[in-house]
Structures are given as C-alpha cells and as structure tokens.
Symmetry: C2
Subunit: 331 residues, 2 copies
C-alpha cells in the first residue's frame, strides 16, 4: 500500500505552473501561500462529503472527484466569485490506487477547467470523507449575497431542476409504479438523470456575469424551496413562485405533474443558481445568460410580505407538503 507521502506526491502534486501568479507556494509546506489580487476580497467555502450520506459506496471515483469540487465551485458561483484555489482533506479506509487515480483525475480535470489550483491538504486513514475548502475572489461590494433581495425583484433559476433527485428516487426504489416505464436502473433515461446527480455543473461563468446585475443569489443544493428560504430569511422578504413554470430536467419533464412539482421544488443536488434581480434588469440577465451559455428561467418574484406562496399554471394557490433536505433530519 502507498504511504501518505507517496500518495500525495503521486496523485495530488503537480509541477508548479509559473503562469499562476497568485499561488506563491503550493502543496508541500506547513501552509500554502496565496497572493490575492490587490484590492480584491477572498470568497471562502467548505463542504464535506461523507460516504453513504452524500454518495453511494460504489460511486464511480472519477465522477466523485468531479462532484466534490463542483459543489464547492457552486458556492463560489453563487457569490459571483472567480475560482483561485482549493485545499483537499481526505480520509480513506485504504490508499487504493485503483480508486485514487480516477478520483484525482476527475477532481483535477474540473479544477483545470476553472483554473482552480490544488494548493494543500491532508490525508488520513478513516471512513471515507472528502472535505474541500475553496477560494475565489471578488471585488468589494460585488459579491452576490443572500441578504440582498428586495421586494419587487424577479426570481430566476439557472439550468433545470430535479433530474438529480429523480435519479436518487430510482436508486432508492421510491415512487414504485409512478415513474415512466423507461426509467429504471440502467436505462438510457436513468443514466441521463444520474449524470446530473453524479456530475453537477457549477455555474461559475453565470455567477461572474451576474455581478452588478443580480442582487441576491444562492446555489441550490438542498432543494429550491429550502435554499430560496435562506434568501428570504436573510433578506427579510417573502416570495411567490410560479410552480408550473419551473424548468424541470429533461427526464423529470416526462414524469407526472405531482413528481415534477415535488422534485423541482424540493429535489436537492441540483447545483443550479437561484438569484434575484430588479425587474429593470431582465434584459441584462438574459444577456448574462447568453454570455455565459447558461439557460435561465424567471420563476417568480420577491414580495414584501413574509412567507412563500406557490401558484399553479392558473395562478391558483398550491398547498404542497415539501420537506427540504436537512442532514440531521432525513435519512
């Protein structure tokens, strides 16, 4: 078996790249040294992924490497921050090369795509646990915060929602008899939905182009209703959502109305951006979407009145029982 130092050297250390001006010192010392661009703020986020909780024990290691960094980049996207670097702490039951090689490939491929450098970390023996802390930068006052929504703002969402949750339902054998017949483990439609679950796309480019256009933003990890709820709570406002205008994922669009509504509203694992912008910014939002090649959909509006109101396609109130994802309340 590889030693800890061999492991770091083989899979997580790469030749220094001289074109990365802000990394003064990378992997291999007590600390990494990062030189932020003068005048910029650092945006910092950390996410911990636990086997059996955030991913199945047999999850493909390449996809898992991608996902661990993607969920962190998604947090930078939700602040409108440009990725700079990240640290990786890894507890592993054993240092198996057949797992480490694809895991580091998936991780570093996404890192390279976003010019986000691995600058340090820790490895230890233990139940599989992956903790990444990511660093980005943004100009002071430009970050897209949760507390900035204002009554009258449009609410927007990027991409589509719910396919990841739909894949999870298939894995768990939930909703027996309610799903379309062509959605079962191993089917083509299932694999398309599962790809959304296993390899989410962080909306970094959209987040960057929305600076100065959007007001509040959050990434949707625990379900739209729960995550939008954080914006509402911190901004001291309410909202109305046009439920049947929510952009369902390709495979979710083929399921019945009840499943569509539940999984777009409270699916989890979407890693799309939910953001608000003044109604006067509609054209600017659409232009930002085009610039960043990311679809956006207007799904509702921010209200001065507290609470969340759900409307159907006829603007009639919908009363749905939803539960957002909470790591200490759901199984």
């Amino acid at each position: 078996m590889l030693s800890e130092f061999d492991l770091i050297s083989r899979y997580f250390t790469r030749p220094a790249r001289s074109n990365i001006a802000h990394i003064a010192l990378g992997v291999g010392d007590d600390c990494a040294l990062l030189t932020p661009t003068a005048g910029m703020q650092l945006a910092i986020s950390t996410d911990m992924l636990v086997e059996g909780r955030h991913f199945f024990p047999d999850t493909d290691a390449f996809a898992l490497g991608h996902k661990c960094l993607a969920v962190n980049l998604s947090d930078l996207a939700a602040m409108g921050a440009r990725p700079l670097a990240f640290t990786l702490a890894l507890a592993l039951p054993a240092a198996r090369e057949e797992w480490l090689a694809p895991f580091s490939s998936g991780l570093l491929a996404l890192a390279d795509a976003h010019h986000c450098e691995l600058i340090g970390g820790d490895t230890t023996k233990g139940p599989l646990n992956i903790c990444i802390t990511v660093f980005g930068e943004t100009a002071p006052g430009q970050a897209l915060r949760r507390d900035a929504a204002q009554a009258g703002d449009d609410i927007w969402v990027s991409g589509t929602l719910g396919d990841a949750r739909l894949a999870l339902a298939v894995y768990r054998n939930e909703l027996a008899g309610q799903l379309n017949a062509d959605l079962q483990l191993g089917s083509e439609n299932f694999l398309l939905a599962a790809a959304r679950m296993h390899q989410p796309t962080p909306r970094v480019a959209l987040g960057l182009t929305l600076r100065g256009i959007a007001r509040a933003a959050i990434d949707i990890s625990d379900g739209l209703v729960g995550d939008l709820g954080h914006i509402l709570a911190r901004s001291g406002v309410g909202a109305t959502l046009a439920v049947d205008s929510l952009p369902a994922g390709t495979i979710l669009s083929q399921q019945n109305l009840d499943i569509r509504r539940h999984f777009t509203l409270a699916g989890g694992d979407d890693y799309e951006l939910c953001f608000t912008a003044a109604a006067s910014q509609r054209d600017a939002v659409l232009a930002a979407a085009q610039t960043s090649a990311t679809a956006v959909t207007r799904i509702g509006c921010i209200d001065a009145a507290q609470g969340l109101r759900l409307l159907d396609a006829h603007n009639a109130p919908l009363n749905l029982q939803l539960s957002s994802f909470d790591h200490f309340h759901t199984s």
Copy 2:
C-alpha cells in the same frame, strides 16, 4: 435532536464583531468574505481529525475542540503567519448538545485567544470527523518555509518533546514494566503528560517573532526526526542532532534513557516548532524566545552532507531504529 441549521446557529454563530476589519462576511452565506491586509500573503492550512485515529472515542469534547484548532494554528506558527480566521467542517453521528456545547467552547476559547474568527463551515451526519482550514497572513518573503535551511544553520526546537507520546503509551499499555511506577492511568504524572497530548499549545507568538530571524521551520506533529526530515529533503541538506540534549517533557524526563531518546526523537503530537537559523542569529533567537515567552533549545546543526546523524552526550554516533508516524503504515 437539533437540526443542522439550529446546530450552526446555536453553537457556531456569534454576533459579528465590528473590530474585526478583515472579516467582510462571516457564517451564513454561500461563502465567507475575507479582506486581507493590503500587500499581505494568505497562509492556508487544513487538517482533518478522525475519531479512533487522531483521538479516542471518549476524548473530552472541550479538549478536542481545542486540539482541532491548535493543530491548525500550529501550521500557521510554523510559517510565521498571524492567524485571521478558520472554517470548520464537522461530520457527527448525532447532534448531541452535551458534546456540541463543550466542543464549541474549547474550539472558540482557543480561537478567541488568537483572534482567529470562525467564518464558515459545514455540518453533516457521518462518522465523527473534524476538518478545519485556517487562514493567516504574512508579508511576502517573510514566511518560514521548509526549503530554506542552509548548511551551518543551528537547529532549534521550542518547548519540550515526548510527553504526548508518553501519555499515548500509557493509554495503549505499551512499555509494560519499563515506565516509572508513578506513571499509570489516572496518576498525577499521567494527567500532566496527557494534557500535552490533549491540549497542545500552538507556538503562534514564537513563529511571529522568528520572522526575519529563522530560516526554515516546521511544526512537529509526526515526530522530530520525521518532520525535520521534511526540512532536510526540501532544502537538500543533512543534519546532526545531539540526541541527549533534546528537551524532554517534564514527565518523560523521569523515564529511562531509551524511552527518553525514542519519544523525543519520534514521539508525535508535540506541536512544537523545529526551526533553523544562522549561527549568527543565536542571540536574536533567544531574544525572540523571551519576547514570546516560549522556551527554545539548540539541538543540532544543518550539514551540507545529506542524511541525519544522531550523536549521544559524548558525541558518539547513535544507531537507533525509529519510525515516524505515517497514517497509512501504523495502526
């Protein structure tokens, strides 16, 4: 049981403190926002502590909270960086208030002592795992790196070595019959040694005063020989150590010579600083030690010739079989 959000709010969110100029946004958004002092570099380190690996399942939660941050602050100390802030990711089997309350107290007491703010984190259900990423700052060119040792440098160590390892030996019932009779579970001497294991003191003040005086530095987490070995490897030099001049811990000093030698050289969990400085800096090093109220001992010198030479009190070569701590090779 507490929900994830209640847990964060109750134990890990504190009122914003307006005197902390570099924290632009703390816990509660997608990212924290940190404003580094203009012209400074950020020093970043991450450490993951796993139950059963880095601490016993019944470890006192207050001490554990202290230790998790202490080992990270120790990395900042070893770079000569001033602590600014940290993130905490926590996997817990259950959100038990009787554990969370003392854990957060121990953690935040040490954080306050070093003006190091908790700015973000993650909580999830899972086997107990604590991952902290810490941020400090240092002026460009002033960081104490591992690759800066030069032949002729003195080698120094702070504080004392080996008491933490001695406590571990008692817990594990190692060395039966070789330890002094007054060193057993629960004895006063044992408790003194165990305090070094459970609540290490990060040498932050010493690290700061050594900037411009020391050349290379590292913190001793895996044992002096192993950690000094990283300085030697990265600096392309060798070293000679006066083994019997190593500062043994108060309790270790009372044990036999063989145990003293092994546990000062390869004990682990000391969290003292090992650093090198030009011989012309001896007075400056002693002055820095006095300023920071931290004892230091000169223990050897850096050689141009590769390899590590161990000498006894009569300058005769010692041939000891030592094994440094490696998370994937030892149990």
